[in-house]
Symmetry: C2
Subunit: 312 residues, 2 copies
């Protein structure tokens, strides 16, 4: 079992490699729900959908979110009323949220609904929301104003300084038995190259998850989302700086040192391998930029090999 702690885009790309490297049935992602939001009455789970659409080959490759060949009639209509249309919801994507909203209101669990949605897209791997309980990532901006994650990330285009981040509901959220079971029983547990603060952070805050991950540290591997000091996508680099951490593979190593024995870093950061190891984390240097063909599959194999070695 190859188990991945997953956020959105970076994790989805890693998972694409994992299902190439291994039988898809052996790949499970435990996915962040801190980005989830109710918008226009619809239950939206951005990270679960980004993983699903990417693994189905249906993600819009240019935007990195939503469906390819999407139409935008509903949003245009909403905009014509002066409605809030900063959170882009394509017409076919809306069908996903309508389905999720219906099934949840009928009493289905998010785990069940996610299984139904991934089945419709023909996925053979498993996507598990980390928890059925609401967790809402909240961002306090430099001006002291607190906003929901999507307001920070999408409406403000994460183009504002932040002061702190908290995960509303995480203190009382419980992991699903499937998610905690997958973490415990994984042969390899991989922290995907997702934003460590707002994608991986909420997963770890759910009751018992951090301990379950830390308890098997020797068989865990993280892939640094920071390459050459920068996030490949999104604001992870600025967020780390703004929270007083270091936007580098060393900063990532500090964040994860109690959780993983190994950090995979990109070749451009090879001169920081020693600094990473001074944090008590083994550094493995390999190409990590997954827009190059074959990289994500090779990464998944490398991560699995490291975890198996850690086991011995």
């Amino acid at each position: 079992m190859h188990v991945v702690l997953a956020g959105g885009v970076g994790a989805a790309r890693y998972l694409l490699g994992a299902i190439e490297a291994f039988p898809a049935e052996d790949v499970t992602a435990v996915v962040n729900v801190g980005d989830d939001v109710v918008m226009h009455g619809l239950q939206i789970s951005p990270d679960l959908d980004t993983c699903t659409y990417t693994l189905a080959g249906a993600i819009d490759p240019d935007r990195g979110w939503g469906l390819v060949d999407e139409s935008w009639q509903a949003m245009a209509s909403l905009a014509s009323y002066g409605g809030d249309n900063w959170f882009g919801l394509g017409d076919r994507d809306l069908g996903t949220h309508m389905y999720r909203t219906d099934r949840l209101s009928q009493g289905a669990s998010l785990t069940e609904v996610t299984a139904e949605i991934t089945k419709r897209w023909g996925l053979r791997c498993t996507l598990l929301p980390v928890s059925e309980d609401p967790i809402r990532t909240m961002v306090t901006l430099a001006d002291g104003h607190e906003v929901g994650f999507q307001e920070y990330f999408v409406r403000l285009a994460h183009d504002v300084a932040l002061k702190s981040v908290r995960f509303d509901g995480a203190d009382v959220a419980r992991p699903t038995s499937a998610a905690i079971g997958a973490i415990r029983e994984a042969d390899a547990l991989v922290i995907a190259p997702s934003n460590p603060i707002v994608s991986i952070g909420p997963i770890l805050e759910v009751d018992g998850v951090r301990d379950a991950v830390a308890g098997r540290r020797s068989r865990n591997v993280a892939i640094s989302p920071i390459v050459g000091g920068r996030a490949l996508k999104g604001p992870a680099d600025r967020m780390l700086n703004e929270l007083g951490e270091e936007s580098s593979v060393v900063g990532v190593a500090r964040r994860y040192r109690d959780l993983v024995a190994t950090l995979i870093i990109d070749e451009v950061d090879c001169d920081l391998a020693e600094a990473v190891e001074r944090e008590g984390v083994r550094a493995v240097v390999t190409p990590t930029i997954m827009s190059q063909p074959g990289v994500s599959k090779a990464l998944a194999r490398t991560a699995a090999d490291i975890a198996t070695a850690g086991l011995s």
Copy 2:
């Protein structure tokens, strides 16, 4: 002030004539909300939208509901998951419901939201939901099973016998001050040719509305939705029969005799004029089939003339 108690299609067509016959600013509809429903998390007000889209010239003329030149990507997507897609929601129509859902969740009243929506469509007449309180038309089928109105009307295509109808919430619903004010201050009050049971019925059940209408009976006019014993559209004829009433202009006269002094009936029913008058309601015979050009405008003028005469 020309004030119309309104359901969906029939009322919308009458209103089109009324805004031709009079300055649109002088026309107000008090609209049924018993058909309203929350579906997929979205707040849907079918009668308000049918009136709005019709008056805007944007209704689909073939279906009689929804927007013309509509696309159906969201519904197709929902269907691909096996979701409930029996209630047709076009993509642009969805934008209306998303906007309404947002504004209501922000604390706006349905009256305010409706004004915003009709403004966006350029309407100069006024549409008023009869109440801000939830009223839900519930239908008990012949087999004893109770379903919501949309389930009866749309999912079952009203192709099942019913035993009774009730208006959940109507006993505690209060009319808006705008709606009750319009009813009281109208020069002419017209009951549109809408389904008397499930379109006009819920309006009259709201606290104080029936009394306010009855209190000005001499200046009120109803237009029969039954022509030649049949409803022009929808199940009003079968519903009247199934509830033990008479599917004829006489049956309509019995239903409305405490509310209006005059019933306008179609020429095909001229031989029933005397029977109508035996119910204590004056019968006025004139063309009422509004699919013919000019009929709705002439009907509106006739109704206003009758009401003014009633006043003298």
